[in-house]
């Protein structure tokens, strides 16, 4: 017969403020097999745990029920405690009388107390039938995957590689670098973005422990912490990267033009292109959607022959390439190739996008002189479309008056309620850089308020005031297009309480930071969830900022929420450290509360196999030598099973047992609840 001990927690006033804890304790004492019922102000405190341990050591109890808060945070604490006292840690059951009673029935003290009694009775019912279970361990693949190679991904990959772990760095674009590669200079020190980023890109690319898979995407993921199987789709480049020297001759000769997204579409690029001058790897790709198939050279066809010369008529790109990296007669698969890798942990650093100006009808999006701040970065960058000269897009004239509009789509219930966090700072940066270069330029900045929290950040802002940049408190209400591609700015000066109206040559919109649309598909593949602001959700907003609900999967950088470069790098290094833990440990624990199939009972019907959301079940054939027949059974891969119980309830032969949630345990709970 089981000897159940019940321990009821006051949780300060969290529980005792609503529930009559003494009444619950008295009730528990009357339940079958309960030998001891105690209460304490804080069961999770040292003294509370000690009380349980002592009862175990004294041999008074061999099953423990703690009626307190949520097992999510506290079950591990009590399990560890009874294990230390010498009891199998699975001989423990938690009754959540806080979240399920005192918190939700705060206005009904009597009802909450009665419900707490039921919850305790149910836990005791189950505890009487608990069996000792044992965790299992599996070996870990000592390798990590980092998805997205912006400054966050590069930092995380370098950290993991320097710790000695093989690291795959997957980037969807032809070059690593992310949005930082598009920036001119960076606040608050104004160092040139490329000067600090390029060396890191090169370092990551050349690191002996890092394998960079550029122009690639994650196609499929399965497995579990310690052993993820990942299929990476390497997109078709149409250019042999082993031969390509990055000379750019193909791009020079390619006649096809399409907006250059790297330059914010302020200029064109060719169908054959290298992403930007400092690209790493510096390799060309053919953007097949915009390829004109010159000389009738569709991929995989033989060239026509010039009747006079008898020579093959090649496309300009093929002819231009001296390295012989372009051969359009090869039957290249447009789907690219799939590379399968095995890793122990995954870090997601897929970053963000800024909203397009087209969303904001009141901000005259049709005007070429209304641009986003990211476009302005390209306009002032030495590698940008104007070679770094500030020229307004409509007529390539130098602007005299320029306007910055903050919070476009951020802090706005119609778009995103969150603050995009780094716009105030980059707008001040852009204004300072421009004012330094063009002292005559009139710069008007319109903010709801300036958010400059960070070391040296507020000084950067107040310094901008001294440089003669005009600051107005008050959100811009709208823009109107005037003759000559001028813009009428409809603004307001909060402090003066007056409306402002003036004509501006160039208007910069600080549009909101959000996840790119393909983040949803990636989240589905990885099991990532979204937070209230539609970024990837961390495990805990304070204590688990890089962890996720999936063990072994970590997040960092702007995909977790808007943050500037220093914060992205810090978080990325934190995520790398966390991702290295399972790799360093060499093996991971598989909780014992997973399902197991009794092959004697399994009829081989296969109903469970497609139902498992984690693809943990497979059907295998066995030869029964004694009977001379081949039999089919389902088997569960224990490192993939998450113990959800779907298969258990579906099996018509009742062949599947979910340890820790066995039939008799659950029936006992139901019986207690319905008694």
């Amino acid at each position: 017969m089981a000897k159940v001990g019940v321990y009821v927690c006051h949780c300060g006033s969290n529980i005792a403020g609503v529930i009559d804890v003494s009444a619950v304790r008295d009730f528990a004492e009357s339940l079958p097999d309960v030998v001891i019922a105690r209460k304490d102000l804080f069961m999770c405190s040292d003294s509370g745990q000690e009380m349980v341990k002592q009862d175990v050591r004294d041999g008074l109890v061999d099953r423990v029920v703690v009626a307190a808060c949520t097992p999510r945070t506290h079950e591990p604490i009590f399990r560890a405690a009874i294990e230390k006292a010498g009891l199998n840690k699975y001989l423990f059951e938690m009754a959540n009388i806080r979240d399920q009673a005192s918190w939700v029935h705060g206005n009904d003290h009597e009802g909450a107390t009665e419900k707490a009694k039921l919850v305790v009775a149910s836990a005791v019912g189950k505890a009487r039938h608990l069996q000792p279970l044992h965790d299992k361990f599996v070996d870990v693949t000592n390798a990590a995957l980092v998805i997205g190679a912006g400054i966050g991904g590069i930092s995380a990959a370098l950290e993991l590689a320097n710790m000695g772990h093989k690291t795959y760095l997957v980037e969807k674009e032809p070059s690593i670098g992310g949005i930082m590669a598009q920036l001119d200079k960076t606040f608050p020190t104004n160092d040139c973005s490329a000067c600090i980023l390029t060396p890191m890109m090169v370092q990551a690319f050349n690191h002996p422990n890092i394998e960079t898979l550029a122009y690639s995407e994650v196609a499929d993921v399965d497995g579990y912490i310690g052993n993820f199987n990942v299929k990476v789709r390497q997109k078709q480049t149409y250019i042999d990267w082993k031969k390509c020297t990055g000379c750019g001759d193909c791009a020079d000769k390619c006649p096809s033009k399409t907006p250059d997204l790297f330059n914010g579409s302020l200029s064109d690029r060719r169908a054959a292109y290298i992403m930007f001058p400092q690209a790493v790897p510096k390799k060309a790709v053919v953007d097949i959607e915009h390829c004109l198939n010159c000389a009738g050279r569709t991929i995989g066809t033989q060239p026509k022959i010039n009747e006079k010369t008898g020579k093959a008529i090649l496309a300009p790109c093929e002819r231009a390439c001296r390295a012989g990296a372009i051969d359009r007669s090869l039957p290249l698969d447009p789907g690219g190739t799939i590379k399968e890798i095995k890793v122990g942990s995954i870090v997601v650093t897929t970053g963000y996008q800024v909203m397009d100006k087209g969303w904001f009808k009141e901000m005259a999006p049709a005007s070429p002189n209304v641009i986003t701040a990211l476009q302005l970065e390209r306009l002032i960058s030495a590698t940008g479309p104007t070679g770094g000269k500030l020229l307004r897009p409509s007529d390539n004239e130098k602007p005299h008056t320029m306007t910055f509009v903050s919070c476009v789509g951020s802090r706005d219930v119609n778009f995103h309620t969150h603050c995009s966090r780094f716009c105030c700072m980059y707008m001040i940066k852009q204004a300072r850089l421009l004012k330094e270069k063009y002292p005559d330029l009139v710069i008007n900045m319109h903010f709801i308020d300036v958010r400059s929290a960070g070391k040296g950040y507020d000084e950067y802002y107040t310094g901008a005031r001294e440089m003669g940049i005009n600051f107005f408190k008050g959100k811009v209400g709208g823009l109107e297009i005037l003759p000559g591609d001028q813009l009428r700015v409809l603004a307001y000066d909060m402090e003066a309480g007056q409306s402002i109206e003036y004509s501006s040559d160039l208007v910069i919109l600080a549009t909101a930071v959000e996840l790119p649309p393909d983040a949803t598909a990636l989240a589905q593949k990885l099991g990532l969830q979204f937070c209230g602001n539609d970024f990837f959700r961390e495990l805990h907003p304070k204590l688990g900022p890089v962890e996720t609900a999936v063990a072994g999967l970590f997040i960092a950088g702007c995909c977790q929420g808007p943050k500037d470069i220093p914060d992205t790098v810090s978080q990325a290094k934190g995520a790398a450290a966390a991702a290295a833990v399972p790799l360093a440990q060499g093996r991971v624990k598989i909780e014992a509360t997973i399902s197991e199939i009794d092959s004697q009972k399994c009829s081989g019907c296969g109903i469970c196999e497609p139902l498992c959301p984690y693809h943990a079940i497979s059907m295998r054939d066995y030869t029964d030598r004694a009977r001379g027949v081949i039999e089919r059974h389902a088997v569960i891969e224990m490192s993939s099973c998450k113990g959800c119980g779907v298969c258990t309830s579906a099996c018509p032969s009742a062949a599947i047992k979910l340890h820790g949630y066995e039939d008799e345990q659950i029936y006992a709970q139901i019986a207690a609840l319905t008694a």
């Binding site: 009141e362 919070c407 802090r411 706005d412 219930v413 119609n414 709801i448 408190k473 008050g474 959100k475 811009v476 209400g477 709208g478 409809l490 603004a491 307001y492 000066d493 909060m494 309480g497 409306s499 402002i500 109206e501």
Partner: protein
């Protein structure tokens, strides 16, 4: 200014009861005032400035202020407000409060009387002008239709406006 929580609470209650439900969502960004034609025309206590005063509990203090009657009900403020305040509703809620306290501007009283009598808030006798251009003297509107006027009067008598005792 003294911060008097009771006054603030009372003011917000009155404004909400009169239809300005979003007032407490305002973060004072100023976007509404940037595009408000009333503010531009020189009525200072509209949109965000009016909301700020009300959030400070300054209700009675502003009862005679005529800015609210400068609102054109264009609703551009509602369109640009990033917080879903619906500033125009707050302005109108304040107007309702003013009206209930009989703190009308003369122009507002005149237009209410016109409406009650002719069915037009702004009414000038058109007969002369219409005769000159060869149109029938009387417009086909409530102004020359006793039955329609009666309907309008019944509606107004039975609306909160009737309770003000203006007519």
């Amino acid at each position: 200014m003294i911060i008097d929580q009771n006054k603030i609470d009372e003011t917000i209650k009155i404004i909400k009861a009169n239809g300005g439900h979003g007032i407490q969502k305002c973060v004072q960004c100023g976007a509404c005032s940037a595009i408000c034609p009333g503010v531009k025309a020189g009525f200072p206590l509209l949109c965000r400035a009016l909301i700020k005063d009300l959030l400070n509990g300054l209700l009675e203090e502003n009862i005679e202020n005529s800015s609210s009657w400068g609102c054109q009900a264009c609703n551009r403020c509602t369109e640009v407000c990033p917080q879903g305040v619906r500033p125009q509703e707050v302005v109108f809620a304040f107007r309702r409060y003013q009206a209930n306290e009989l703190a009308f501007s003369t122009s507002a009283v005149t237009s209410q009387m016109n409406l009650y009598e002719t069915g037009h808030a702004v009414f000038t006798d058109p007969k002369e002008a219409r005769r000159k251009v060869g149109l029938p003297e009387e417009t086909p509107t409530s102004a020359f239709n006793e039955a329609a006027q009666q309907e309008i009067r019944t509606l107004m008598d039975n609306s909160p406006m009737g309770e003000l005792g203006l007519f």
